[in-house]
C-alpha cells in the first residue's frame, strides 16, 4: 500500500467512523438498531438499497466478466432493475406494512404459530450466512490483491470495521455508509467511462465496434458453449431475478421507511440507480479488454476481477487507483453491514424475542440481545472467513440466492397472495425448495468437479418449482374445512387489507404491531382470527 492509497483509505475509514459516531446517539432501541426506527426517507432508502446490493462483485466482477466473456458477462447485470421492479410490484409495500423487524414478521402476520416463523428465521440466517462468508472471503482476497496486505490481516480489518459500524451505529450507520458508497461508486464509474471514452473519441459506439474488430462476433454477441451450459446459465438468471425478491437483507431495507409510499419510492429510486450504473459497465468492460488486454487481465486474476483496477491504473494512475480501491473497500463494508443487521434481526427478534419470549417490555434487554447477536455474527463471520481462505466459496452467494428464490420467495408470495395456503404448506414449501437447492449445489460440478452427479451448478430452475409445488400439494392435503376454512378466509382478507393499507404508519407497526396481526391460533382452529388492526376491520367480510 503506497502513501496515496493509505491516505485515501484512511480518509474513507475516518468518514465512515464519523457517520457511525453520529448514528450512535440515535441508536438507543432495538427498533432503531434493526430498522433505523422506520425513519429513513424513501429516496434515501432507495440510494441505500442500491448500496446494499451493488457489491464488489457487481463493480469488479461484471466489468471483468464483460472484458473476458463479452456479452455473456452482462447477464450478471441486466437482470437487476427487472428484479427490483418485480420486488416493487410483489413484496415492497406488504413487506413494509406487515413487517416489523424481519421478513419472518410478514409470514407470522398470517401464520402466527412457531413453525412458519422458525422456518423463515432459519432461511434468513442461512441465506445471510452464505452471503456473509462468500462476501467476506471475497472481500479479504480483494483487499489482499488491491493493497498487498496479508489475507488474515485484511479479514481482521474488515471484521473489526464491520463490527464497529453495526454494533454502535446499527441500521442508521449502515444506511449512511451505503448511501456514501453508492455516490462514490457511481462517481467512480462515471469518471472511468469518461476516461475510457476519451481514448475512443467520446463515442460509445466506437468502443463496441473496436471490441467486434478485435474479438470478433463472439465479443459482442451471446456465446453458446453447449446446451447444458445454456440451461445452467438460464437457471442462474432465473435464480438471480427471483432470488433478489426473497433476499432477507434486501427485504429488511423496506422496513426502514415510514410507510408504503416511501417503500415504493425506495424501490423506484433504486431502479433508476441500478439502470444508470449498469448502463455504464459495458464501456468500462470493453475498455478494459481493449486497453489493458485480455491476456494481461487473465494474468492478474483468472476471473477478471482486477480488470477494472488495471484499467483505472492505466487511465488515471496511482491516485485514481487508490480512490477506486477505497471505494471497492467501502462497497464491501456497506454490503457486509446490511447482511449483519439483517441476520441480527432474525436472531434477536425472531428467535430470542418472539420464539423464546425474552426481552418483552424491556427495551434495554432487547437492545442488549441485538448487540450481543451483532457481535457474535461479526466474530463468527470473521472466523469463518479466516478458516475458509483456501476453500472454494465462490458458489456460496449463488447458493444463497438460489435458497432465497426457492424458500423465502415462495413463503412470502404464498403468505401474501395464496388464499388457500396453510402453515404446513408454507413450511413444506420452504423446506423442499431450500433443501433441493442445497442438494443440487452439493451434487453439482461446482462442488464435485468431474464427479458431479447433476450437470448444472445453478439450482433455481429446478428448486424453485419444487418449492412452489411442495407448498401447493401440502396446502391441498391440509386444507381447512367448515368453520376453520371460514376463519382462514377471514385471516387472508384481513392480511391482504393490512398489506395494502396506505394509512399504516411506522409508528403503528412499532407500537401496535400485534393489532395488525391475528390473535394466536387456538387449538383446533384452522387459522388465526383477525385482530382489530388498521386493516382487519375495514374489509373483514371480503371473503
Amino acid at each position: 500500500m503506497n502513501a496515496v492509497s493509505a491516505t485515501v483509505f484512511s480518509a474513507l475509514v475516518a468518514v465512515t467512523l464519523g457517520l457511525t459516531w453520529r448514528a450512535r446517539s440515535r441508536t438507543t432501541s432495538a427498533a432503531e438498531h434493526l430498522v433505523a426506527g422506520g425513519s429513513i426517507p424513501g429516496a434515501q432508502n432507495g440510494v441505500a438499497i442500491a448500496g446494499d446490493y451493488l457489491s464488489a462483485v457487481s463493480f469488479l466482477g461484471v466489468t471483468g466478466a464483460i472484458a473476458l466473456t463479452g456479452f455473456n458477462g452482462y447477464y450478471l447485470a441486466v437482470f437487476v432493475p427487472v428484479a427490483y421492479a418485480l420486488t416493487l410490484l410483489l413484496v415492497a409495500e406488504p413487506m413494509r406494512n406487515l413487517g416489523r423487524y424481519t421478513p419472518a414478521d410478514v409470514v407470522a402476520a398470517r401464520f402466527p404459530g412457531p413453525r412458519p416463523r422458525v422456518a423463515m428465521a432459519a432461511a434468513t440466517v442461512l441465506v445471510n450466512v452464505f452471503f456473509l462468508v462468500g462476501q467476506f472471503v471475497g472481500a479479504a482476497a480483494l483487499v489482499q490483491l488491491l493493497f498487498g496486505l496479508p489475507y488474515w490481516f485484511s479479514a481482521i480489518v474488515i471484521g473489526a470495521l464491520t463490527t464497529i459500524y453495526t454494533l454502535f451505529g446499527g441500521m442508521l450507520a449502515t444506511t449512511w455508509i451505503q448511501i456514501v458508497k453508492t455516490v462514490l461508486l457511481c462517481a467512480c464509474a462515471i469518471v472511468l467511462v469518461l476516461l475510457t471514452l476519451s481514448r475512443f473519441g467520446f463515442d460509445p459506439l466506437a468502443v463496441f465496434a473496436r471490441a467486434r474488430d478485435v474479438g470478433g462476433t463472439a465479443a459482442v454477441a451471446p456465446v453458446r458453449r453447449s446446451t447444458a451450459a445454456s440451461i445452467d446459465q438460464l437457471s442462474l438468471i432465473v435464480g438471480l431475478v427471483f432470488g433478489v425478491i426473497g433476499l432477507p437483507h434486501v427485504l429488511t431495507r423496506f422496513l426502514t421507511v415510514r410507510d408504503g409510499r416511501a417503500a415504493r419510492t425506495s424501490a423506484l429510486v433504486s431502479i433508476w440507480i441500478f439502470s444508470g450504473f449498469f448502463l455504464l459497465l459495458p464501456v468500462i468492460g470493453y475498455g478494459a479488454a481493449l486497453l489493458v488486454g485480455t491476456t494481461a487481465i487473465r494474468d492478474r486474476s483468472a476471473g477478471g476481477n482486477l480488470a477494472l483496477p488495471q484499467l483505472t491504473s492505466l487511465l488515471g494512475g496511482e491516485t485514481l487507483l487508490a480512490v477506486v480501491g477505497a471505494v471497492a473497500f467501502a462497497t464491501i463494508l456497506a454490503v457486509l453491514g446490511g447482511l449483519i443487521v439483517s441476520t441480527t434481526g432474525a436472531i434477536a427478534h425472531d428467535v430470542y424475542g418472539t420464539l423464546l419470549g425474552r426481552g418483552a417490555g424491556n427495551e434495554r434487554r432487547r437492545l442488549r440481545a441485538v448487540r450481543v447477536s451483532t457481535l457474535v455474527m461479526c466474530v463468527l463471520a470473521t472466523v469463518l472467513s479466516l478458516g475458509a481462505q483456501r476453500l472454494n466459496v465462490a458458489f456460496l452467494p449463488a447458493l444463497g440466492t438460489a435458497v432465497a428464490a426457492s424458500a423465502t420467495l415462495p413463503a412470502l408470495l404464498f403468505t401474501l397472495h395464496a388464499r388457500r395456503m396453510t402453515d404446513r404448506g408454507l413450511v413444506a414449501s420452504m423446506a423442499a425448495g431450500g433443501l433441493s437447492a442445497v442438494a443440487i449445489i452439493v451434487l453439482s460440478p461446482v462442488v464435485l468437479g468431474a464427479h458431479a452427479v447433476v450437470p448444472i451448478s445453478n439450482p433455481a430452475i429446478v428448486s424453485m418449482p419444487v418449492g412452489f409445488a411442495a407448498g401447493l400439494v401440502v396446502a391441498a392435503l391440509t386444507r381447512p374445512r367448515g368453520a376453520d376454512r371460514d376463519e382462514a378466509e377471514r385471516v387472508f382478507a384481513a392480511i391482504g387489507d393490512a398489506a395494502r393499507n396506505p394509512h399504516l404508519r411506522r409508528t403503528d407497526v412499532t407500537d401496535d404491531v400485534d393489532a395488525t396481526r391475528p390473535a394466536p391460533r387456538e387449538p383446533g382452529a384452522a387459522a388465526a382470527r383477525p385482530g382489530p388492526g388498521p386493516g382487519a376491520g375495514q374489509h373483514g367480510d371480503r371473503s
Binding site: F71, V78, V82, L89, R212, V220
Partner: protein, 81 residues
Amino acid sequence: MMIGGRPRGLSRGLLVFVLCAVFFPLPLLGGFTDLLDGEVYSGITWAWLYALAQFPVSILVAHYYVRGANEAEDAGAEDAA
C-alpha cells in the same frame, strides 16, 4: 379509475407478466438461438439492444405502478376526509 387502493387499468399481476415476458426472452433467445447475434450498427448486436432495453422497460413499469398507487392513496385519503 382506482379500486381498493390500486390502479384498475393494469393490475399488478399484469405488470409482473409484462416484465417477465419482456425479460426472459433475452436469456432464452441468447442462450439457445442465434436470433440476437446479428449486428444492428457499429458493433451493437440485437442482444445488446435487447439487454439495454430492459432498463427503460423496468423504469416505465415502476413509474406506472408507483404513480397509480400514489394517486389511489391520495384519492382514498380525500374520500376519507
